[in-house]
């Protein structure tokens, strides 16, 4: 498959129709996750940012970018633990680090040649010596991850990918609840993240990347999803 021209200069409307189709979902799903075509090309059209492109490849690269960010954060947390990190905190935060690395490596493997390069994080705004700052940042990353997967799920056309995104997002939600409980028991799902319907609040790709880019040296754009940094 040649590189999609739909990504050129961001023409979201051209891809809209196929993007919203249900038809063919069953057929695509039958070919399996690893059949993803290498039709993604990285652009630096948007102020030097990497663009996620369009279609399922875009959503997977979007997730890959977020998982890279989370993995890098927890690797740093464990490499330079804040003072007084308890045994159970060390154990849980190490587990979370390894989960995020597993997520990151899964997306890299699934995307093959279409995968983003390694992104360089910028955590200069986070004080890794402070328990409150580290867990506060962890909470923000985990809640953001949950909102990101929940907000992008409907864009996924392949049912295998959708199910795998579902397998990951509930683990992110488990992380979010744990980090919140470490900071203050009982805040696992308080009103700051849960609405009156007892539901998390999804966020759009544009909303999420705006936050994620604060922690990335190389920015990520999503021209097909109304976001250019």
């Amino acid at each position: 498959m040649k590189t999609s021209t739909l990504q050129e200069a961001g023409k979201p409307d051209l891809s809209r129709r196929s993007f919203l189709r249900y038809a063919g979902v069953g057929a695509v799903a039958a070919t399996g996750v690893m059949a993803l075509s290498a039709c993604h090309k990285h652009h630096d059209d948007y102020n030097g940012a990497y663009d996620i492109g369009s279609g399922d490849t875009a959503i997977l690269n979007y997730a890959y970018a977020l998982e890279q960010l989370e993995a890098a954060f927890y690797i740093q947390v464990i490499a330079s633990p804040y003072g007084g990190m308890s045994a159970i905190e060390t154990s849980f935060l190490t587990d979370i680090r390894d989960h995020e690395v597993a997520h990151r490596e899964f997306f890299k493997a699934a995307l093959k040649d279409s995968a983003f390069p390694a992104l360089t994080p910028d955590f200069s705004s986070i004080d890794f010596t402070s328990r409150a700052k580290v867990l506060g940042a962890a909470q923000a990353f985990e809640d953001l991850g949950v909102a990101a997967y929940n907000g992008a799920g409907y864009l996924i056309k392949n049912s295998d990918y959708l199910t795998i995104a579902g397998k990951i997002v509930s683990v992110e939600a488990r992380h979010a609840a744990l980090i919140r409980n470490l900071l203050s028991v009982g805040t696992f799902g308080d009103g700051s993240v849960i609405d009156a319907n007892g539901s998390d609040k999804q966020q759009s790709i544009a909303q999420v990347l705006q936050v994620a880019n604060v922690y990335l040296k190389t920015k990520v754009s999503a021209g097909s999803y109304n976001y250019i940094p």
């Binding site: 129709r17 919203l20 189709r21 249900y22 038809a23 979902v25 069953g26 799903a29 996750v33 690893m34 159970i88 849980f92 587990d95 680090r97 390894d98 989960h99 995020e100 690395v101 597993a102 490596e105 899964f106 493997a109 699934a110 949950v146 997967y149 929940n150 907000g151 799920g153 409907y154 996924i156 056309k157 049912s159 990918y161 959708l162 199910t163 795998i164 995104a165 579902g166 397998k167 997002v169 509930s170 683990v171 939600a173 488990r174 992380h175 979010a176 609840a177 744990l178 409980n181 009982g186 696992f188 799902g189 849960i194 609405d195 009156a196 319907n197 007892g198 539901s199 998390d200 999804q202």
Partner: protein
């Protein structure tokens, strides 16, 4: 019935099907954030008008089936917490806030789904359920540790149940997003209950996430819950063996590969698991 084939058939017969129900249509576009923005009271109108606009009928059968199933499980969960919270001295005072908050969410899920589905028939009575599951958990309403263990299994199973319906809601901006937003709250609940058990109730190996080994999928140690955790020790995702991928040092461990991905259950599997509780 294969939902995807159904959609294909519809689209073959009606090429404009996508445009009829596409989120780009103003009627639906305006509802994109309906979970947070649109008043709950406006929902039945919003949802029904959406599909009347498409076909002059109600929601697609697959969507209705998935959400009706979700409501059935939420009825049970809400009744479980409501009943337990009403038992004097069952729930420890220091943990009552957490259990109360979880119960409130379940009741909100019930209200939300009833509204979304436009259900007007009464909910099943709380007394219609057997929370002991025909005696398997005989002390569920008299022993707090048993209650927490059952709550954990119910929440973990709820997560698996929603996950199993993702395919039925694929591409549905409104319905899938709403289901995902509930799904992740169930996971928050499971994490919170697991943490309480680890922190205060001697569950020294329990983690906020479901762990396991190559031969053990049920990390609760309660064999009666084996079915609830069947397959949770899967380490192959989309054909990718997670344990063959690079970790922080060496390959990703079997433990991390199991914990990092929660697994779905089918509707049939879940209904069989909750049948002993009187969910029908």
């Amino acid at each position: 019935m294969n939902l995807f084939n159904l959609f294909e058939d519809i689209e073959n017969a009606d090429p404009e099907f996508q445009d009829r129900i596409s989120p780009r249509r103003d009627a639906i576009k305006n509802m994109a954030g309906f979970g947070t923005k649109v008043a709950v009271a406006a929902l039945p109108f919003a949802l029904s008008s959406l599909f009347k606009k498409a076909y002059g009928q109600s929601a697609p059968a697959g969507v209705t089936a998935a959400l009706t199933y979700a409501l059935k499980l939420e009825y049970f969960e809400a009744a479980f917490y409501r009943t337990a919270l009403a038992v004097p001295n069952l729930i420890s005072a220091s943990e009552k806030a957490t259990i109360t908050a979880i119960g409130a969410h379940e009741a909100e899920h019930v209200a939300f789904l009833r509204t979304a589905l436009n259900v007007t028939t009464p909910a099943p009575a709380d007394t219609s359920y057997d929370f002991t599951a025909r005696g398997t958990f005989a002390t569920v309403l008299t022993n707090y540790e048993t209650f927490l263990a059952v709550a954990q299994a119910i929440e973990d199973t709820g997560v698996r149940a929603y996950k199993g319906q993702a395919g039925a809601l694929i591409g549905q901006q409104v319905y899938l997003t709403a289901a995902l937003n509930i799904h992740s709250v169930e996971a928050r609940h499971a994490s919170a209950i697991r943490y309480l058990r680890r922190l205060n109730h001697g569950a020294t190996t329990t983690k906020p996430w479901i762990t396991g080994t190559a031969s053990v999928s049920n990390d609760t140690g309660i064999s009666a819950a084996d079915g609830n955790y069947a397959g949770e020790n899967n380490t192959i995702q989309g054909g990718v063996d997670i344990t063959k991928l690079p970790g922080v040092s060496g390959n990703i461990s079997v433990t991390a590969a199991i914990e990092a991905f929660d697994e779905p259950l089918t509707m049939q599997q879940v209904l069989a698991l909750v049948a002993p509780f009187g969910v029908s």
